[in-house]
Structure formats: C-alpha cells, structure tokens
C-alpha cells in the first residue's frame, strides 16, 4: 500500500516572526508535529467528497505579501478589525476601548498574555477531525485575542474582515480566539473577501470559549472569489447556561470547507447553528458540523440549507454526539437541499451517536427541486420565470436569512444572492 501523502515541506517553513515568543514557540511545536500528518485523501472519511478539491501546491505555501492600506474600501458600520492576507491592519481597524473588553492583535500581546493564550489555542477543537486547523496553528502570522470580563457586553457587532489579495500565489492563516467570561455578550461577524486572481488559500481558525451564562453570536459570511480555496474551522466550548448562535452564509468556490465543532459542557447550555450555502458553476462547498452534548439539559438546534446550481457540489455532514451523562438533551437537526440543475450534486449525511437514554433527538434531511406546480402558479399570474424562480428559491432560505441578526450582513448576502439569481435563472 502506498503511504498516505504528507504535507509538502514548503508548508513547514517558519512564517513571519513578529509574534511574542510564547506564540512563536507554540507555532514551532505545532509545525514539528505536522511533519508526518497525513493529508486528507479520498479515503479520509470526513474529506471523501472534498479532498480532490484541496490543491496544496508549493506556490500556495508562500506567505502572502503584506499590502498597504488600499483594497478594503468597506463601509462597515460600527466596530471593525481588518485582516489583510492574514495580518491585522491597525490603520483600517476601528474598535472600542471599553471597560472589561480587550481586543488585541497577537503581535501586541505581552509575554504573559501570550503565554496564557498559547496554552489555550486549539483547546476548543478536536484537531484529529480538523487536520487543516493544525496547519493554521503551525503557520498563523497574526491573530485577534478577544477577552470579555464577566458581564461585559459589547454594544454593537464586531466586524472582522478577512481579505486576501490574489496578486501573487500564497496562503493566509488568520486566527481568532474569543474568551467570554460569565454573562458577557458579544456578536462577532467574520467576513471573508478577496481580490485578484492568483490562486490563494485561506486557512482560518476561530475559537469561542463561553463561561457560565455567556452569550455569543457568530455571523460568518464567506464570499471570496474563484481563485480562493477557503478552509475554516470554528471551535466552541460552552459552560452552563451559555448560549451560542452561529449564522453562516457561504458562496461557493473551487473549495470551501467549514468545520464547526460545538461542545455543550455545562447544564442548560444552548446552541443554534444556522447555515445557508449557495453554489454554482463547478463550485464545491463542504460543511461538517459536530455538536457534542457532554452535559445534561442542553439544547441544540441546527438548520442548514444548501442550494446547488449548474454542476456544483454541496456537502453537509451533521454529527450529533450525545454523551452518556447528557440526559434530557434536546437536539434538533434539519438539512434541506435544493438542486437547481440536474448536473448539480448534494450529499447530506446525519451522524448520530447517542449514548444517553433520556433524550430528544430529531433529524431530517431532504433533497429536492423547485416545485413545478408552485412555479406554474406564480407565472400564471404574469410573474416572469426569473422572478418566480427567485421567489421560490428565496422562500427556501428566507427563514434563515431573516434570522441573521446583523442588517449589514443581510444586505451583503442579499446582493450576492441577487447576482446568483441573475446568473442562474433565465426568462423562458
């Protein structure tokens, strides 16, 4: 048997050095451990549909150039942090200095804080299941460490914009760590954008740790271009009575992969995971979510919708693991899929592992097409095909779009959706 391929040594070169010593040390350790990490192949269960889209060429191993101030002409209301090619740009960022809330880039941490963070990085993730997050840990150039003291409330969403420029080939490894103390509250928006045309890989990791009663909302908007492979992992750990909400809206590309892992570790924890994925052309999008009910009396609710047009391919894998002691767990998972063309493909798989006996766990998955009778009803009122198809497709995701708690994200998503509808639907 041929040994599984391992990562090219080009990816193991140390990156930029402008990090505090404890983080440099951590990165080095993680890099050493990476040497013989097998790369995902078709035989890797959690990458079986996506490994062939993962193209780790040596050119991608280069660090992307740090660019100047232009290129992020985003009009974002409120607090924002801009990352460019994986490095934070202070001049483009604007965020508050509030009591009890510290938002710091990794490069600015003092050695003590950095040592504390180094101990914690990766501790929300099952890194065996998210191989590519390990590459991030070995290569991050910068990052954002957000700490909320107890009862601190960030009064507006914090936008974190990750932009990569494909003027040259390379990769970026943005990293966010959010530590939310008891009863603190924050909404973090991650927006992934790109410019340029050369192949780029974004390998990003975001972690949230919620103490008792903390409330965190994470909105994730993935809109990079056709030159970008996007691989992301989000890890969440929740203590008692905390609430985590995730709203992911993603548009396809050559490779889009998101692993979302939530651990409900204290009684009374709740999580709600919403996802909307839209693919067209030959795009590929793969969502793998995992919810671990570790403690009793927790609720999880997950709703994902995929829309695949043309010859695109969407994958949803939803794992729910209810541990032996997690009695009275309430888990609800629902995945509906819409194929807009006969050439499109959607693969959906629930993975339930239930080891407690007194639980409620419901799951459902459907794959369908637009309803012809509904379409006929609409056009019989004089509504054009393009508009009728658009109405029906929006109906499929409306409920989730409506729930996005940040208007600017809703608007940006709707604009991109409208482009998609214009490209996908024709008049008769």
């Amino acid at each position: 048997m041929k040994p599984a391929p391992t990562i090219s040594s080009a990816f193991l070169e140390p990156g930029g050095q402008s990090l505090p010593a404890p983080l440099l040390e951590l990165r080095k350790q993680r890099g050493t451990a990476l040497v013989d990490m097998p790369l995902p192949t078709r035989k890797t269960e959690n990458w079986k549909y996506s490994s062939r889209h993962l193209k780790l060429t040596d050119e991608l191993a280069s660090t992307l150039p740090a660019t100047g101030k232009d290129g992020y002409s985003l009009s974002i209301p409120g607090y924002r942090v801009v990352f460019h090619n994986g490095v934070m740009i202070p001049e483009a960022s604007d965020f508050p200095d509030l009591d009890g809330i510290r938002i710091q880039r990794f490069a600015d941490l003092d050695d003590d804080e950095a040592a504390g963070l180094a101990e914690r990085l990766d501790n929300t993730l099952d890194t065996r299941a998210v191989q590519m997050a390990r590459l991030n840990s070995a290569r991050f150039e910068d990052g954002l460490y957000i700490q909320l003291d107890k009862e601190a409330v960030l009064d507006q969403p914090l936008f974190i914009v990750h932009e990569v420029t494909g003027t040259a080939s390379g990769s970026a490894y943005p990293r966010i760590y959010v530590d939310a103390a008891r009863h603190s509250q924050i909404t973090v928006v991650e927006e992934y954008l790109s410019s340029g045309e050369e192949p780029v890989m974004v390998d990003t990791v975001t972690e949230f740790v919620l103490a008792d009663g903390a409330q965190v909302t994470n909105v994730r908007l993935v809109m990079e271009g056709e030159n970008v492979q996007h691989i992301g992992a989000t890890g969440v750990r929740q203590a008692a009575n905390s609430r985590f909400e995730s709203h992911c809206v993603g548009f396809g590309g050559p490779l889009r992969r998101h692993d979302l892992q939530v651990r409900l570790e204290g009684e009374g924890g709740e999580c709600k995971l919403n996802g909307v994925v839209v693919t067209q052309g030959k795009q590929h999008y793969d969502n793998h979510t995992s919810i671990e009910h570790v403690a009793a009396h927790c609720d999880s609710e997950e709703t994902y919708r995929n829309i695949a047009a043309d010859e695109s391919h969407a994958v949803f894998n939803g794992r729910i693991h209810i541990h032996e002691d997690a009695q009275k767990s309430n888990a609800n998972m629902n995945n509906k899929n819409l194929l807009l063309s006969t050439g499109a493909e959607i693969d959906t798989k629930p993975e339930l592992e239930i080891y407690a006996d007194d639980v409620k766990c419901a799951h459902g998955a459907t794959i369908g097409q637009l309803d012809r009778i509904s379409l006929f009803y609409l056009v019989s009122r004089g509504i054009g095909r393009r508009e009728a198809n658009t109405l029906l497709t929006m109906a499929f995701i409306n409920e989730l779009v409506e729930q996005i708690p940040v208007q600017a994200v809703k608007d940006a998503a709707q604009l991109r959706l409208n482009e998609f509808f214009d490209q996908t639907f024709q008049e008769a």
Partner: protein, 257 residues
C-alpha cells in the same frame, strides 16, 4: 375574444381533451359543467398554459392571437387569469409580496410604473375587504394554511387585482359556505364587464343563481356534448347527466358528436 377549435390535449400519452370547440365573446359569461374527470380542469389548465398537458391538435386564439405560441406568463399578461380549483400553497413567499410582484409584472407589461409597497398595501387592503378576507392574510405565506374557502377568496382577490380579459374560474364555488358564496359571487359579478369574458367551471346550479351565465356547456369525456342557455343548468340539476348518454368520463362517441 376566445376561440377554441378542435382542441386535443393529453397527459402522459393519454388523451383527455378530444376535440373541444368553444367561442366566447367579450362581455359573456359561460359556464362549463360535467361529470368528475371529464376534463374541465384540464381545459382550464391548458388555457393557462400548464405544460403538464400536451396540446396535440387544434387551436386556441385570444383576440386573434395564437395563444399556444405564448408562455404561461405571457398569456397572463395578455389577460388570461385562471382561478385554480386547488390553489397552491407556497410557504416562504408572502401573499403580499406575491400579489405585488404579479401586479407590477402586469403594470410593467403595460408600460406603467410599478406600485411601491405603500401604494400597493393600500390597494390590497381595499380589495381584501371586497372579498371579505382579513388583511392579515396578506402577511401569511401564499395560501399557506388557508382554509378551502379562504383560498378561493384569495383567488378572487387576485382576479380583482389583475383585472384580466378572460377569467377562468375552476370550481371557485366549491367548498364555500353560504356567506362565502355570496362574497365570491359579488366578486365575480364585479368582474363582469363589456370588455371581459368569464368562463366558470362549476358543479352547482346554485352559483348560477348569483352569476347568471349567457351560455352553459356540458363537458363529458373530453368533448362538449351539449350547449344551451342558463335553463340547461336547471335541467342538469334535475336530471343529472344520464339523459345526455353520459355517466362518467367514458362518454359514448354518439353523445359526443
């Protein structure tokens, strides 16, 4: 206005309409009656352009224009309106959004400016009252969870908003209580106009007391086997379809010619 000549249509290779001839002039009201499964809804759907049904022979023209060349939405814009026997539920699309989109599609077609949300809301509320439908129904999904009678009123609401040239009402009276029948009849009568024609499919003479037709046709086995004035409806009510030599969809050839 509408001229149907020797229309044949089939579904999945099975012929349902077997040579329909019908002339409807502007200002007229025609009623079509006939046994279950005789092809009344098929005829209605074919007129609206449902592609489930394949037209294998014959012609349909609306004011001289060949209807069969037009897509469903173009037919609607030319003034064909079908009130469905079974109105379709579309969760996730609000009734208001649906109605406004439809009205604006028509307005755009006629070269008029679109109505904005506020203007349309005002209009929709007025017309809702006309069909005794609580404006709250505008906020719900299209027909979503509407009762049978509410769905039918929503169909008439659409007809009133869209002001078609030819309104085809497929059993819009079925499943209505006595009051609702009054309301719907009033709505339909409000549609009656010199330049508009109405084709009503019904099983019941009682509707025809409210909306008096100029012509009544019996459709059986895919053909119109008898036509007459409104007194034909009374006769059918009394005698059933048997005397026409028709018991069910298996109409005999002699009855059809």
């Amino acid at each position: 206005m509408l001229s149907i000549k020797n229309l044949h249509a089939s579904v999945e290779g099975e012929e349902i309409l077997k040579g329909i001839n019908l002339e409807i002039k502007a200002g007229e009201v025609h009623a079509i009656m006939g046994p279950n499964g005789s092809g009344k809804s098929t005829l209605s759907q074919v007129l609206a352009g449902n592609e489930t049904f394949e037209v294998t022979q014959g012609e349909i023209s609306l004011n001289g224009e060949n209807l069969l060349d037009l897509e469903t939405e173009e037919r609607a814009r030319e003034g064909i309106f079908l009130a469905f026997q079974y109105p379709v539920e579309i969760p996730g699309v609000s009734n208001l959004q649906f109605l406004r989109t439809a009205v604006n599609a028509m307005r755009t077609h006629r070269g008029e400016t679109e109505m904005n949300a506020a203007e349309f809301m005002k209009l929709a509320k007025e017309v809702s009252k006309q069909v005794d439908l609580d404006p709250a129904f505008l906020k719900r999904g299209v027909n979503e969870g509407f009762s049978g009678g509410e769905k039918k009123r929503n169909e008439i609401l659409q007809a009133l908003l869209l002001q078609p040239k030819l309104a085809i009402l497929d059993e819009t009276d079925s499943g209505l209580d006595i009051d609702a029948l009054q309301v719907v009849s009033k709505g339909v009568n409000a549609l009656r106009a010199e330049d508009r024609a109405i084709l009503m499919v019904t099983h019941y003479q009682r509707l025809l007391n409210h909306i008096v037709p100029d012509h009544v046709h019996v459709l059986a086995g895919g053909r119109i086997v008898k036509s007459g004035g409104r007194e034909l409806a009374l006769e059918l009510e009394e005698r059933g379809y048997g005397w026409l030599g028709v018991k069910d969809e298996e109409a005999t050839p002699s009855a059809a010619s």
